[in-house]
Amino acid sequence: MTGLHEPTLPAEWELVVGLEVHVELATQTKLFCGCANEFSTEPNTNVCPTCLGLPGSLPVMNETVVDFAMRLGRALGCSIHPSVMARKNYFYPDMAKDFQTTQYDQPTNRDGELALADGTVVGIERAHIEEDAGKTTHVGGGGRINDATYSLVDYNRAGVPLVEIVSHPDIRTVEHAKAYVSELRDILLAIAVSDAKMEEGSMRVDANVSVRPVGSSELRTRCELKNINSIRSLGRAIEYEACRHVDLYESDEAPRQETRHWDEDGGRSTAGRSKEDADDYRYFQEPDLVPLTPTPEQVAAIDGAMPVLPAARRARLGELSAVADDVVATVVERCQDALALGAIEAGADADKVLTRIQNDLAVDDWSAVTGQTLATLVQMESGGELSATQAKQVLADMAAGNHGGDPKSIAEARGFEAMESDALETLIDQLINDNPDEWFRFTSDDEGDRKKMQGFFTGQIMKATKGQADGRAVAELLSRKSAG
């Protein structure tokens, strides 16, 4: 449903949002057993007595999970604490054990923060280890849980390691909520603990939303939104929910604390279960697992091996160039900043390098492009050996690894030779001569006519040169000729 009017929060109300993000860790095996942690289209193929919760089976903690969780915690500036696992009891067949093993009152990571690109800081309450649940499919009644005649359960995902990152309710705008998730995703990729794909469910975002009058510091009743599958969807869901709360308050009602299901197609949230008390989950310490007690040396080793995080990488490129922030952000998000730095170091103009990468290197595999070859390409373009259009084509060939990725060989093979400005001028003179009416209209005061004829002449030139003319040079020449 596009084109519908999206609601906006009235100016006298303020948004209060906290996010809970579940991240699947990219380990080889599950949290408590040696079953493969991989997506399988064939159900129940990665299961064993432990993740099926069979009597007599015992969980053993995966050491890589602990390492990844602490790495994530440190990347978010959390302090690391001794922890124990707990059982969260609930009856739902997605967990065969009838409880989820999680960290409750003693999580591994506490009190961190995440700085957004614009400098806003969002507090992180905790980032704890827990296991994922299996997948249920409801059969009959249109696949809806309440009308189904029965359900099918696949336990491949049961026991897959997760870290749940819980923010403080510090987020005040939809844009910040989206920026938080985007920044968190970039960090997860940078520290290589998850593939962090929202659309595939390896990163899942729940939003706790409430509103309050501007100027107030109270925390009103919140609703937890689930089933948000993209960053765009997150923005829509929060906006919708906030407006729903405002509508209720303005008609002297109040929202009730509950979990709500975001319906992306319908553009609305619907009531789910009412939010239960923590008491009702009857949390207690998992007797089959012993405490985790990380040493200061372990934490120091994690800090020592921490890669440079996206914020610092953006700052570095920002210092070197004058391009817009979003260009830098895109390059870092695609992990192409090392490539850019290589090209800049090899002598190419920083702004041109970043713009070229952002515009023309949005491909999955660009491993054949090096800092050196990219620098050569940018210099060829700056020196007039290639037009912008040609540079774009050469870069595509470089990424594909054609001619060993060498821009000079590619340009030669494609027959790209620099169009001398003399030759271009001759061609333009010829066109003016052949099309006097069009040229008259181009030189007229009518802005619309002028634009139309600019398109006409540029098109003719591109046609005559098979696209090899530099568009900017053409525009400059046309404007010089019409002035003189």
């Binding site: 299961v47 050491e63 099918l152 009702d280």
Partner: protein, 100 residues
């Protein structure tokens, strides 16, 4: 005898554990649970200021395994033991909702 736990609380806890209790059982367990809580209160009265709190009964920590794959079970083998199965999955009665 004790006011440590009410009859309503016992009914609530029984519901969470999916236990169906008769009125007589509710009365009986309310008394018994009250006694247990009473005992906990006795322990609470002790001065344990000098004693290091323990978070776990076992004198161990950091029992970890390497992140190495092991063979999973043969699907037919365990699905054959399930009350019902379909399309490689466990078949379960309709789910009324997710709640504790």
């Amino acid at each position: 005898m004790s006011e440590r736990i009410t009859r309503d609380e016992v009914i609530h806890v029984a519901r969470l554990a999916r236990l169906e209790l008769t009125d007589a059982e509710i009365d009986e367990f309310t008394g018994q649970l009250g006694d247990i809580l009473e005992h906990a209160a006795d322990v609470e009265a002790l001065d344990v200021g000098d004693i290091e709190p323990t978070s776990h009964p076992l004198p161990m920590s950091n029992v970890l395994r390497a992140d190495v794959r092991r063979l999973s079970l043969e699907r037919n083998e365990f699905l054959a033991q399930a009350p019902a199965a379909e399309a490689g999955q466990f078949r379960v009665p309709p789910i009324l909702g997710e709640e504790p």
